[in-house]
Symmetry: C2
Subunit: 114 residues, 2 copies
Amino acid sequence: MARAKTTLDPFNAIAEPKRRALIEALVGKELTVTEIVELMGWNQPMVSKHLSVLKQVGLVSEKKEGRYRVYKVDADLLKIIQNWVIQFEPYWNNKLDNLEAYLNQIQAKEVNDE
Amino acid sequence: MARAKTTLDPFNAIAEPKRRALIEALVGKELTVTEIVELMGWNQPMVSKHLSVLKQVGLVSEKKEGRYRVYKVDADLLKIIQNWVIQFEPYWNNKLDNLEAYLNQIQAKEVNDE
DNA sequence: TTTACATATTCCTATATTGGTATATATTTT
DNA sequence: AAAATATATACCAATATAGGAATATGTAAA
């Protein structure tokens, strides 16, 4: 046997950097696909496909408006992630208090990669 | 171009259900590979390989002890996930307060899948 | 110094996944 | 009705997986 299908749960949905970027860009707003295309600088099918994954998972929802589709983030599902991660809080050492530096590093790398 | 390498960041490391299970099983403990094999009921290379990914990411560390390798969880990196997710907390609606039910469902499904 | 044990690694296969291009499907405007 | 616009989908290529089996490597015990 081989890999199992993955993307259709919240953990995998946010594992993709572009999908995280989409969520960041879209949260608290309502944007059409074209607006997202312009904002992100990605091609249209790429945007539609990632949105489709996010929609299937439930992290995003869509509203038809004429020939437009207006997308928005449904952030609630992120509670599932939060819920999983937070159970390990008792085990966090404060050793990694250069976390700030680490995070910046990560972010810099992600920006370069795309 | 095609896919980019994924597993080597915390988001992708925990996207794999087996790796989440490993972290859950191993947190706050120190276990050898064989103990993990018995505990999880997976074959030994599978355990070693998933541990290897977690180790490369930094979510797990290992200590040689004779012919054994003792593994433990380094939970700090999970702060990165927490840090990302928590920025969306202001957007959580309490609409999804059947989250408990949802979570149980997810968990039941995961157990079945493996 | 063999033999047994613990673990990692290599090799292979099947499949999922991202990305790109071209095309189909609405819907609106002219 | 035709053209234009907005979006989704189908198709294709490249590659990264996860999983399994066999093997290599390292260490201890006999």
